[in-house]
């Protein structure tokens, strides 16, 4: 009987079909290809939900699935690895599939309002891009090995490029698209080395072992690494520990690029040049999550390297704070959201780095919902404002577009981390995990976690501040421009997705209310249980991607242990209260500064810091300098060297031969006498040589 797992490839195949249909037939369709995309993503959503239900054990017996389906390159000789594409479904995959296909569907619907109703041209191209993106992203999610993940990782990068550059007639979008691809490519370069390295080291890139009737037929690379570590093997002249760290850091390069972490975060704010639904889908909810998802996917590998974990935590914590401070001074709506996205992914990295696997996945889920909501809300505002994104030109939109306002507010509360909205639960858990592991882990690792935690905690305040600065400037006060006084109305296709997500942002946090669970003893931490799996047997035994296994590794290999300085419950409450009060403080400061009919800019009070923040800490400047101030002159110098020296030698050789030729030509005077003399002399010489050599040997 064909179960849900047999249809998993179709989850990606449907949007791929939509891509082809939109590209070639989109111009003949009434909605220019949107129909295909909506149908396909709806189909994907249904299949994803079915898959999730199967994983939950409701609609089938098997709760996980891991098969190689396609041999991409068969290695014939010994030692030649075989590269395959396959499907891995476990609770993490199922969750992510549902998130991605849900948001993709909503964004497709929203696009009807944002793109079709606005009379854009080139829509088949747009929907084709969305379709290809959705397909690649979903395929990335259910990839069962690292190479397949990389391949689709690159494809989503391509789609990101195509969609950011959708308005190619202007100067900005193509440039931003180029930057986005190039910066992520730089990260992917390290990722690719990592992929090659993993295959060369372990001969496989499987995330989870493949079993047949209970016996393992193909081991996964995290497991092999684990064994190698136990056996004290060495690879390429390094100890297993060092080598695993190196590989982990290399793969992390791709993660940092895609998830827009410091220092490769610079592309994401620029990427806001793309259409807003694209920003919602790609640059907030899904593609940017790919990096974090990848770390979660191969978490069993990262747990073997405490160094890599510390780096992930520090990058995450720093990025969370760093990006949040930049979000404080931005004037464009989408820019604020972009920096907020960077910051929030920083939290997820922080969680992963400090051993908070569930927290990271939880925050990934809630963030996908509320950030997609915020972007779509921003899109709605942008439609209303005739594509003016400057918040200082808005104001007072609250009464004129209530659906947008209330949903946007729901998302903002979630983002700021106000109880009981989604963001509170997840962010609190992230910080809590970092805190207890920081105290519990030994040596520098614990210190690193605490440093990262401190940065993350501080960022909570900024998050609350910039979120509500945005809300107040956009929706409250008096309308500051004519457009804001009379905004363009938005249709059902905008309000529908907003409402769905608005409710989601308020409620999705309920899936894992850990503090409540701990306090009351109720077992309502569903996500935790979802990722934990059954105690004995079931999918964790097959895939070894269960939480139990990770906790063992944390304890045994990485030396990460929880510790509760104030007792378990008190620590939990104090942690939650601290972060909540910081968030509220941020909100209140924003309220006091901007919640007035005619708000004024307060950024001047920051003094020198304002310039620094407005210029994004000169991150773009130094990266542009690296490209234009170092690489381009270097290329020019290489070109000069090539033209002058290398080719100069070639031309020099040819001119030497031309010169000697012109000299030798003078012998050819045309005078018979000279020829005769030369002949005679040569004959004499030849004879003398023969005589000397002893006569014709």
């Amino acid at each position: 009987m064909a179960g849900a797992f047999d249809f998993v490839p179709a989850i990606a195949a449907l949007p791929l079909l939509a891509f082809v249909v939109s590209l070639f037939a989109g111009q003949y369709m009434p909605k220019r290809g949107a129909e295909a995309g909506i149908l396909a993503t709806a189909g994907s959503l249904v299949l994803s939900i079915w898959t999730a239900l199967t994983v939950a054990g409701i609609t089938g017996s098997a709760t996980s699935y891991n098969e190689n389906l396609y041999t991409w390159v068969a290695g014939v000789a010994d030692g030649a690895v075989t590269l395959r594409l396959g499907v891995l479904v476990d609770p993490l995959t199922a969750l992510m599939l549902v998130i991605v296909s849900l948001i993709a569907l909503l964004v497709h619907v929203f696009s009807l309002g944002y793109m079709n109703d606005e009379g854009e041209t080139g829509l088949p191209r747009y929907y084709a891009g969305l379709g290809l993106f959705t397909a690649s992203m979903l395929a990335f999610v259910f990839s069962n090995n690292l190479l397949m993940a990389f391949m689709f990782f690159e494809l989503v990068g391509l789609c990101s490029y195509l969609l950011i550059g959708f308005w190619f007639r202007e100067d900005g979008p193509p440039s931003a698209a180029k930057k986005a691809f190039l910066v992520t490519r730089f990260g992917d370069y390290f990722f690719l080395i990592g992929v090659v390295g993993v295959f060369a080291t372990f001969g496989t890139g499987l995330f989870a072992p493949i079993t047949e009737g209970g016996t393992v037929v193909a081991e996964s690379f995290p497991q092999m690494a684990e064994h190698a570590l136990e056996d004290g093997e060495s690879f390429f002249g390094y100890s297993a520990q060092t080598w695993i760290t190196i590989l982990g850091m290399l793969v992390l390069g791709g993660v940092v690029g895609k998830s827009a972490q410091f220092p490769l975060h610079t592309w994401l704010p620029d990427a806001m040049e793309g259409p807003t639904p694209v920003s919602a889908l790609i640059h907030a909810a899904t593609m940017v999550a790919a990096g974090v998802y990848l770390v979660a996917r191969m978490y069993g590998f990262y747990l073997l390297s405490p160094t890599a974990l510390a780096v992930i935590a520090l990058i995450g914590g720093f990025t969370a704070l760093f990006a949040a401070t930049m979000g404080v001074v931005k004037q464009e709506l989408k820019q604020v959201l972009a920096y907020s996205t960077i910051s929030q992914y920083g939290y997820m990295m922080l969680a992963l780095g400090s051993g908070g696997y569930v927290a990271a996945v939880f925050h990934l889920t809630t963030h996908a919902i509320f950030k997609a909501l915020l972007f779509l809300g921003a899109g709605s505002v942008i439609i209303a404002m005739h594509h003016n994104e400057n918040m200082w030109d808005m104001g007072g939109l609250k009464d004129r577009m209530p659906v947008t306002y209330w949903t946007f507010l729901s998302g903002s509360l979630a983002l700021a981390g106000i109880v009981p909205f989604a963001g509170f639960w997840s962010k609190d858990e992230v910080l809590f995990e970092a805190l207890i592991h920081g105290f519990g882990s030994t040596g520098t690792l614990g210190t690193m976690f605490l440093v990262a935690y401190a940065m993350g905690l501080l960022a909570v305040f900024f998050t609350g501040f910039y979120t509500f600065r945005m809300v107040y400037l956009t929706f409250h006060g008096d309308a500051r421009t004519d457009v804001a006084r009379d905004p363009e109305p938005v249709g059902w296709n905008v309000k529908g997705p907003l409402s769905v997500l608005g409710i989601g942002a308020a409620t999705v946090g309920l899936i894992n209310m850990k503090p409540i669970a701990d306090l009351t003893g109720l077992h309502i931490d569903f996500l935790h249980k979802w990722l934990l799996g059954p105690e004995e047997g079931g999918w964790p035994a097959l895939t070894s991607t269960g939480l139990h296994h990770y906790e063992e590794l944390m304890h045994n290999v990485a030396g990460i242990d929880p510790a509760y300085p104030l007792g378990e419950t008190t620590t939990l409450l104090v942690s939650a209260l601290v972060s909540l009060s910081l968030a509220l403080a941020g909100v209140l400061v924003a309220r006091s500064l901007y919640n007035e009919p005619e708000p004024v800019e307060h950024t001047d009070k920051l003094g020198g810091a304002k310039t620094l923040l407005m210029h994004n800490y000169y991150q773009d400047e130094y990266q542009v300098w690296l490209a234009q101030g170092v690489t381009v002159p270097l290329a020019r110098a290489a070109d000069k060297f090539d033209q002058g020296v290398v080719d100069g030698v070639v031309n020099g050789i040819s001119s030497v031969s031309l010169f000697t030729g012109s000299r030798f030509r003078r012998i050819q005077s045309g005078v018979v006498t000279n020829y005769a003399a030369l002949m005679t002399l040569s004959l004499v010489l030849l004879l003398v040589v023969f005589v000397v050599l002893g006569g014709g040997v």
């Binding site: 005077s669 045309g670 005078v671 005769a676």
Partner: protein
């Protein structure tokens, strides 16, 4: 008592070198032709000498052919000299220094 072969060779070398000398030092095309004639005859001397040396008449027959060829060569040579004179108003071989004029 016949004369040793190398003396014939020496004679032919002398005649040949006189011919070569003429070609090298003179510029007059007619003198060239004469010099070439000398060189051909030096070859003839060689042919006859070796014919005698080996007791085989082939060399002598060949020298006859050579004479015939020399005649042909002179005929053409004189013709060329005439053309040369027509084109350059002179028969100085150093004047005709290009293949095409």
């Amino acid at each position: 008592m016949a004369i040793q072969t190398q003396y014939f060779l020496l004679l032919s070398a002398a005649v040949f070198c006189i011919g070569v000398y003429g070609i090298l030092t003179r510029r007059n095309a007619l003198v060239f032709l004469m010099s070439v004639e000398l060189m051909l005859n030096a070859a003839n001397i060689n042919l006859v000498a070796f014919s005698f040396h080996h007791g085989n008449l082939t060399g002598q027959v060949f020298s006859l052919f050579t004479m015939a060829l020399a005649a042909a060569e002179v005929a053409i040579g004189i013709g060329i000299v005439l053309v040369l004179y027509r084109n350059f108003e002179d028969i100085d071989v150093t004047k005709a220094a290009t293949m095409r004029w």
